[in-house]
């Protein structure tokens, strides 16, 4: 059984990664070939020709059909083979699996698991990513570590103080207590850290122009297994959201991650930074993109090392958890619950005795 939950939506790509050429990416151990039809819809097929396994992502698109780059087997958008080389009869089994795909908020989501159960209403939203009044920078870094290590990392931001000092970390992040909430029905973990008098880290000082001490709120909203939202509010000390009306004296940054397993030991680390200020300022965009990428790469370097450590450790190694891990523990539990719920045996009817 895989370590990730089945019957869940995962981010497979950014919308602008999939154009009119074939695009290959492995999601949850499934090699997939994506393409965009002339009608603008994204299609995901198994990335393996039924004939001799050649990756369809290395093949050709012709009139919304995939022509295998090895022997010319041709598939339509539903994965049915519509042409085989040098013969008229098409074998009945010449079909590649199709995955359910939806595009929302500039993200391409794919349903991993029983395709009959795919429900678009279950996709968590990140509307800032393509909403008017916001500007987003983004990237994706390959992580040579299991997805769970990135979940642990992002659910406990006290590590910013030590791993990301000089960028987003200041002493107050590690010093300020958190409040953790878990919605058992909606499967959401929420971790709040509200710093009402904190140093302004360079990441925000140089992007907002704020000088001096700030009110800094970090509100994590994690929708396991994949989507992580960090609602970040930055304002001069003492400036709180008004009772009524827009919170227009504060700067808002929505940091979004999509944590998509590639294999049991590697992860696609999608990162996005959306802001509601300096919308057309290319210098700010460049600065935030470079800074966040640097921060992500600091995490990648640490987690790649951790993966080696975890792989090499003895069974049942006993780690230690303290107060800062309250949210991370909740995320682990919800994901474990999703894994159990998505297991094939959980979905199968119980045989009558």
């Amino acid at each position: 059984m895989p370590s990730w939950p089945l019957n869940q939506w995962y981010v497979a790509a950014y919308s602008d990664e999939i154009e009119d050429e074939l695009f290959g990416r492995t999601v949850c151990g499934e090699p997939l070939a994506f393409f965009r039809t002339s009608a603008g819809e994204v299609v995901a097929l198994a990335d393996r020709c039924v004939h001799r396994r050649y990756p369809l992502s290395r093949s050709h698109l012709q009139d919304d059909q995939v022509v295998c780059g090895y022997h010319g087997f041709t598939y339509d958008q539903r994965g049915s083979c519509v042409a085989a080389p040098a013969q008229k009869r098409i074998p009945r089994t010449a079909r590649v699996p199709v995955w359910t795909v939806r595009e929302l908020d500039s993200l391409v989501w794919v349903w991993i698991g029983d395709q009959e159960l795919a429900d678009e209403a279950l996709i968590p939203r990140a509307p800032w990513l393509d909403r008017e009044g916001w500007t987003t920078v983004r990237g994706m870094e390959p992580l040579a570590a299991r997805a769970g290590l990135l979940v642990d990392n992002l659910l406990d931001l006290s590590h910013e103080t030590y791993l990301h000092g000089g960028y987003i970390g200041t002493p107050e992040v590690a010093e300020t207590p958190i409040t953790t909430e878990v919605d058992e029905d909606a499967e959401v973990v929420y971790v709040s850290r509200h710093m009402d008098d904190a140093a302004c880290p360079p990441f925000y000082e140089r992007s907002t122009g704020l000088q001096g001490r700030i009110t800094r709120w970090q509100d994590i909203e994690f929708h396991p297994p994949c989507l992580y939202l960090l609602h970040s509010r930055i304002a001069p000390v003492g400036v709180l959201p008004p009772e009524d009306g827009p919170d227009d004296r504060a700067f808002h940054v929505e940091v979004v991650y999509a944590i998509t397993p590639e294999t049991e030991h590697s992860t696609h680390d999608f990162w996005m930074v959306a802001r509601d200020f300096a919308l057309d300022d290319q210098e700010v965009s460049h600065f935030l993109a470079e800074s966040n990428r640097t921060v992500v790469l600091q995490d990648v370097e640490a987690l790649d090392v951790l993966e080696v450590v975890v792989e090499g450790e003895r069974e049942n190694y006993q780690e230690l958890s303290i107060n800062i891990d309250t949210g991370g523990l909740a995320a682990r539990r919800l994901i474990a619950r999703q894994v159990a719920a998505g297991a094939p045996e959980a979905a199968a009817p119980v045989a009558a005795r």
């Binding site: 968590p124 939203r125 103080t161 030590y162 000092g165 000089g166 970390g169 200041t170 002493p171 590690a174 010093e175 300020t176 207590p177 958190i178 409040t179 953790t180 909430e181 878990v182 919605d183 058992e184 029905d185 909606a186 959401v188 929420y190 709040s192 850290r193 509200h194 710093m195 009402d196 008098d197 140093a199 880290p201 360079p202 140089r206 709120w217 509100d219 909203e221 929708h223 959201p241 210098e283 600065f287 958890s321 303290i322 107060n323 891990d325 309250t326 523990l329 909740a330 539990r333």
Partner: protein, 101 residues
């Protein structure tokens, strides 16, 4: 490019670690309630202490010094307390509501 500036705080300037039994700095107000669903567990890091206070969605609370024991209590609580059946105390209040769509 933006001008390079030395950050006011560098990784070497770490917070002072306190000795055993001494609370870490925790003198800031606790954040307001954020999730407004019917079955929300809440754990608040009590101000000026290392104590965590967990609230079941039925409103009952429990304290612990570390999160695993507290989660164990919270997750067992609805089953072990028969009168803990109707999630009322976490109905949406005046606090900020988060839209989970």
């Amino acid at each position: 490019m933006l001008p390079k500036r030395r950050p006011r705080w560098l990784p070497g300037d770490r917070p002072v670690m306190t000795g055993e039994g001494e609370p870490v700095r925790a003198d800031l107000p606790a954040p307001t309630r954020m999730l407004t669903g019917r079955s929300v567990y809440r754990i608040v890091w009590q101000l000026n202490t290392d104590v965590l206070v967990g609230y079941c969605w039925c409103g009952q609370s429990h304290e612990a010094q570390e999160p695993i024991a507290l989660w164990d209590w919270l997750l067992a609580h609805p089953d072990t307390h028969p009168d803990c059946g109707s999630p009322a105390p976490f109905a949406p209040g005046p606090d900020r509501a988060v839209v989970v769509s």
